[in-house]
Amino acid sequence: MLLSLEGATVRFGGRAALDAVDLAVAEHEIVCVLGPSGSGKSTLLRAVAGLQAVDAGQVLLDGRDQARVPAHRRGVGLMFQDHQLFPQRDVAGNVAFGLRMRGAGREEQAERVRELLELVGLPDAGRRGVGTLSGGEQQRVALARALAPRPRLLMLDEPLGQLDRTLRERLVVELRDLFGRLGTTVLAVTHDQGEAFALADRVVVMRDGRVAQSGSPLEVWQRPADAFVARFLGFENVVRATVAGTVADTPWGKVPVPGGSAQGERNLLVRPSGVRLAAGSGGGGLRCVVAARTFQGAQVSLRLRPEGEAPELEAVCPLRDAPAPGETVGVLFDAGEIAVLG
């Protein structure tokens, strides 16, 4: 393993920002740590970088304990959330900084700077002042600066956090592409699930300084480990249920679950796509009133209020079938889109 954390713990006052975290990153792997703010993501990066001492546990790089290795000797790169470009240097000066610290010659520096600015798509920006760069350009320069000394591990703190939505969606694809081509090992943290799933080979969800779930984007998406992860991913149809065989007893009534699901008292996730609207109001199933609808491109997101005391349901349906608010619909459940959580 290139990087492993073993029981890494960081305390601020009485609060544990990192609580006995175990994490491993293999060479060429892109790992994205996902979590709400305050979950300890940034502290994790700072502990690996050596900017924050761990109070207990170990940080190992290539199997060697880093406790006594200061930040500047760890050979890892960190791209800061707000970039932290050096204001008194131009773009080339920023990119060359890490190379100079390693004693690279002038020629080598110039060559590498040119190469990296080319790579991030700013080939002619070398002499520009960092104050003249747009947000997206700053982000590219920060990336070039972090990559220039060929760090064995590149860490990104909210890499796209400050950019607007469209730029973000384009850059995340570019980044994934770039890291794949260069074979860079990446540990990124973000609070944005879209970003994490688009970038990562593996997603690590954190909560209150602990790892809540770790797995491939598909695994995490399909089988959230618990109600917290499910809700954090944006799923709202999460309820307590009693599972017996392939049927679960829920506030919404009897719901089918896939075969082989865990039995007994459980949390149950119904993905919006698993909520089927029965044709017409006489179609049977759970009777619900449409409380609200939101148009999302080709489909419509619906908020359904079941009759009785049951919690509201989130559903999606194609644009042309969308019922109007106030209409009553019947609801059926699709076992394929339902997961029994831990």
């Binding site: 305390r11 050596g50 001492a53 200061p70 500047h72 000797r73 800061f80 932290q84 600066r145």
Partner: protein, 552 residues
């Protein structure tokens, strides 16, 4: 707490201690030690017994009481007079637009940075024996409190124009307009809206002027005479002329207490000044004068500025050339009476001392600022911050006197070494260095340092690559300040400069103190040289400060 966090905590402490060790040692030896020596000298007899009653009796002596009373009332009078003269000027410079405003605002600042001895010499040239007014109307004020008060106004005019005027220019005129729209007359609007906003700045300026004039030495030494003697000049007289060190020490203690009191009041008013004001760009608030009233005010201020600020240095220059270049030539000749060397030697002495003092002040002040700027600076480190400012408040004369009585015996017998003078001057210069560097160091985003560390920069290289480029300008400005301060320093230097190595201000004062036209003329010529050197240093400083485009 686990072993690891204790370790990192210790590492932070060690780094801090390393940075603080030199400044702390410097202040212990060259500030605390002399202060203790003064206290012991004043309050304890030869036999080591405390003599508090005797010290109290000293203060009760009529001639001492007279000095105390004069010191107090001349400071109050100087402060009041300065406010009366300079407040209208503060308004004019802040709110009226007229040709030459920027130049004139720079001109009125000059006296504040002139060495006090030069200010004294300039007023001597105007109101002294065979001065301008003496020749024109037979009016002489030297040796009277009048000359001292005028010179105090001359020096402190800029304090009011800068602190009060600076704020005045930034007050939103919309506030007064709002009051007018609600039915207030022009004057009522000013009284109820602008005046309360200016109040704290006026109070701060008044306190500063009071402190400066209460501890005034050079001006009183040059312009004063019998009965016109402040605590400072009296401490010097007791030490240098009468060798009455005990009385001098008791007077120094009074000076400590008074300065401490003023600084405490100042700290208190600063805390109260936190009221949030609406500030705007000064460029938007100035208007050309309108109506007879404003024109009259402008004319009056220009006249006062011309007579009070521009005239004295001009007359000084003119007098220095009244024998052609004769006085300047005489400076190069050894006369053997006043000094053991030719007066012109003082120029080189001053420059050498100033360079040494600047170097010391930069090292001490730089280290202290670096320690204070650390984010993990604890309470006792911040306490040190306040301690660093003390030499500014404690009068230069007490510093010099303390050096004289504290550093004259083994293991620290520095009396006969040249380094004593730069050390005293550095002590006065350190607060300027810290004040200039600290805000800049604190403004460096800590994560920039982290970014450099992650890119492979060792702590030393982080400082060189991130901190230094950002503080380089501040460092140069601090150096300029320290240089100018030590060039003009008189109060401390006069106690410890050796007769064969006088500095410029010391030589000027000595020449003025001796009879004869030649000495007088030489004093004027030497003052002009000092003025030019200081002006050059400050001009470089202003350039460094003003040129903010194309950073590095």
């Amino acid at each position: 707490m686990t072993a690891t966090s204790t370790r990192s905590g210790l590492r932070g402490d060690a780094a801090r201690l390393g940075l603080m060790a030199v400044p702390v040692a410097f202040f212990a030896v060259f500030f605390a030690h002399p202060v203790v020596a003064i206290v012991l000298r004043g309050l304890r007899g030869e036999d080591g017994a405390w003599r508090l009653a005797e010290a109290a009796r000293t203060l009760g002596r009529p001639e001492v009481r007279e000095v105390l009373w004069f010191t107090l009332w001349q400071a109050l009078a100087s402060t009041a007079l300065t406010l009366v003269v300079a407040l209208p000027a503060a308004y004019v410079f802040a709110r009226l637009r007229f040709p030459g405003r920027e130049l004139l605002r720079a001109v009125v600042t000059v006296p504040f940075v002139l060495p006090t001895v030069v200010a004294g010499a300039a007023f001597l040239a105007v109101v002294g024996r065979s001065g301008l007014f003496d020749e024109l109307w037979g009016v002489r004020l030297d040796g009277t409190v009048g000359a001292v008060l005028l010179a105090h106004v001359f020096v402190n005019f800029a304090v009011v124009v800068r602190t009060v005027g600076g704020l005045w220019a930034q007050l939103d005129p919309g506030q007064e307009e709002a009051a007018r729209m609600l039915g207030a007359s022009r004057f009522t609007a000013w009284r109820t809206v602008t005046l309360p906003a200016l109040g704290p700045a006026v109070a701060a300026a008044a306190l500063m002027i009071f402190l400066f004039t209460f501890t005034s030495f050079g001006i009183v030494q040059v312009l004063g005479g019998p009965g016109v003697s402040t605590l400072e000049t009296e401490i010097y007289r007791r030490t240098a002329d009468l060798l009455d060190l005990t009385t001098a020490a008791v007077l120094s203690l009074v000076q400590f207490a008074a300065v401490g009191g003023v600084l405490a009041v100042h700290a208190w008013t600063v805390r109260r000044r936190e009221a949030t004001l609406r500030l705007v760009d000064p460029a938007t608030t100035a208007r050309p004068p309108r109506g007879a009233g404003q024109r009259l005010l402008l004319g009056g201020v220009l006249l006062v500025t011309a007579v009070l600020i521009v005239l004295p240095p001009a007359v000084l220059v003119q007098r220095s050339f009244s024998a052609g270049l004769g006085y300047y030539r005489a400076l190069a000749e050894e006369d053997g009476a006043a000094f053991l060397v030719a007066p012109v030697e003082a120029v080189w002495n001053s420059l050498e001392y100033a360079v040494a003092a600047t170097a010391i002040a930069l090292v001490i002040g730089g280290l202290a600022a670096a320690a204070l700027a650390r984010r993990d600076a604890g309470r006792w480190v911040r306490g040190f911050d306040a301690l660093l400012m003390l030499p500014l408040g404690v009068s230069a004369v007490t510093v010099g006197f303390g050096f004289l009585i504290a550093l004259d015996e083994p293991p620290l017998d520095l009396r006969s070494t040249w380094i004593l003078v730069p050390l005293a001057q550095a002590l006065v210069g350190v607060p300027f260095v810290v004040r200039t560097m600290l805000p800049v160091l604190r403004a460096v985003d800590h994560r920039l340092r982290e970014a450099a560390a992650v890119l492979g920069a060792s702590p030393w290289r982080v400082w060189r690559e991130v901190d230094l480029p950002m503080v380089r300008r501040a460092l140069l400005i601090a150096a300029g300040f320290a240089f100018a301060v030590s060039l003009g320093e008189f109060g401390a230097t006069v106690f410890i400069a050796r007769p064969d190595n006088p500095t410029l201000p010391v030589a000027v004062a000595k020449l003025i103190g001796r009879p004869g036209d030649l000495n007088y003329g030489q004093a004027m010529a030497l003052s002009v040289i000092l003025m030019v050197v200081c002006a050059a240093a400050l001009l470089v400083l202003e350039r460094l400060r003003g040129d903010r485009t194309g950073e590095f």
